[in-house]
């Protein structure tokens, strides 16, 4: 568990540093100040889920991400994913399988220099997931054991037709690495507002929402690689004027 966190930190640091590096390089280039904004569709995958599918035992997950630039600052954003996760806790062992879809918007708060096309954004999502849970085994908690301890009880009971809905607040970056390829990272704070639970169990993991806690809050993240498909261009004039004024 510690190791996984450490690698998460290293990855975050590398990512942030690399985005700084990209900006530093961009600052050096001197080009003609004709500013156009490109509009189009960006689509990619969450690398962290693919990586976890390899190194984490009993986890399979895939998430495709996409966004579409609506205005200078606003982007439509969406994620579509599928997860299959087995959790092995002290008292419970269960498998959650299901799909999820999240849709919302991103607002770019980063002022790009010249023809840079990076994003530091905040956004919101509405998430919905349908899934099933299989209780593989469980233990009876006995605070006052006197008789020989009861072993874990194998169950295999499957709870189907479960669903959940939630809202996410997203903070993220998307840095252009080369050509139209982007590397991104986003953090999500989740608020569960609808949760269809089984009668004799709980939704301890919800695909897309991740682990649930006692309250309605949850958290998530993704590391994405994506490709930007330009569709049309728009000239930006207002910012040019401003910059000329500053130069004088």
């Amino acid at each position: 568990m510690k190791m996984r966190h450490t690698s998460k930190y290293i990855f975050s640091i590398c990512l942030v540093l690399s985005s700084l590096l990209i900006q530093a390089q961009a600052k050096k280039t001197d080009s003609i100040p004709v500013k156009t904004n490109r509009y189009g569709l960006r689509f990619g995958v969450d690398l962290s889920k693919i990586a976890r599918s390899f190194y984490e035992d009993k986890y399979k997950g895939l998430e495709v991400v996409g966004d579409y630039r609506l205005t200078k600052k606003y982007y439509l954003g969406a994620e579509l994913g599928n997860e299959n996760k087995t959790v092995n806790d002290d008292q419970l062992n269960f498998t959650t399988k299901g799909s999820y879809f999240k849709a919302g918007f991103n607002y770019n708060i980063y002022d790009n220099w010249l023809d840079m096309e990076n994003l530091i954004y905040i956004g919101m999502r509405y998430g919905v997931s349908t899934f099933s849970q299989t209780l593989n085994s469980y233990k009876i908690y006995n605070a006052n054991p006197y008789f020989p301890d009861t072993p874990a009880i194998a169950s295999g009971e499957k709870f189907s037709g479960l669903s959940a809905q939630w809202a996410e607040v997203v903070v993220g970056i998307n840095a252009k690495v080369f050509n139209n390829f982007y590397v991104g990272f986003s953090l999500r704070a989740n608020l569960l507002f609808s949760n269809k639970k089984p009668n004799t169990f709980d939704n301890l993991y919800i695909p897309g929402f991740n682990r649930t806690y006692d309250g309605n809050f949850g958290a998530g993240f993704n590391y994405t690689v994506s490709y930007f498909l330009p569709i049309y261009k728009k000239k930006v004039e207002t910012t040019l004027v401003k910059k000329d004024v500053k130069k004088k």
Binding site: M1, S12, Q91, L92, Y138, K139, F147, I173
Partner: protein, 173 residues
């Protein structure tokens, strides 16, 4: 710009660092024990303390000792619908003639109830309350007995054993 990146880093660290400890809180009601209250047969409204009451489960070598209490907690077996105990009064007395033993068998049904991630499931019990089933308690292996060697009378106060806040069995002696 740099401030935002630093903020992002802080958020990233704090989020991945917040993994809750999954330890079952001792205050969470989990599998309950059978609560037995002792009353004075001379004055049935008054509780009476037992002296060095040892209860030993059938097939167990060690018992649970209650030095001087009027309320005791009796663990039930989670794998069987019956639990048999020897209730040994004055168990520490040097004079064997003053040590009294009664054997009580409790008969019940079990239900498994989900508690939480950390606690998993608990078992709750229903003492038998149906003439077609074995009696909820059997004294000294005699289903018709109501008086034992030191126990004068037994009543079931609560057939449902779901928590430890209420009396389930009253014993008068």
């Amino acid at each position: 710009m740099k401030k935002i990146l630093i903020l992002l880093l802080i958020v990233a660290f704090s989020l991945s660092g917040c993994e809750k400890d999954d330890i079952c809180d001792p205050n969470t009601p989990t599998t309950p024990r059978l609560i037995v209250d002792f009353y004075d047969i001379q004055d049935p409204t008054k509780t009476k303390n037992v002296t060095d009451l040892a209860i030993v489960g059938d097939g167990m070598t060690t018992g649970i000792l209650f030095p001087s209490e009027s309320r005791i907690q009796v663990p039930l077996q989670l794998t069987e619908d019956t639990t048999k105990y020897s209730f040994i009064l004055n168990s520490k007395n040097s004079n064997p003639a003053l040590i009294f033993t009664d054997v009580i068998e409790f008969n019940y049904s079990r239900k498994t109830v989900y508690v939480s991630r950390a606690c998993g499931y608990k078992t709750v019990f229903d003492l038998n309350n149906d003439t077609t089933l074995p009696n909820p308690y059997v004294l000294n292996n005699d289903p018709t007995a109501s008086t034992g060697n030191w126990i004068k009378f037994l009543t079931v106060e609560n057939y449902n054993i779901e928590n430890e806040n209420e009396t389930h069995i009253k014993i008068y002696f």
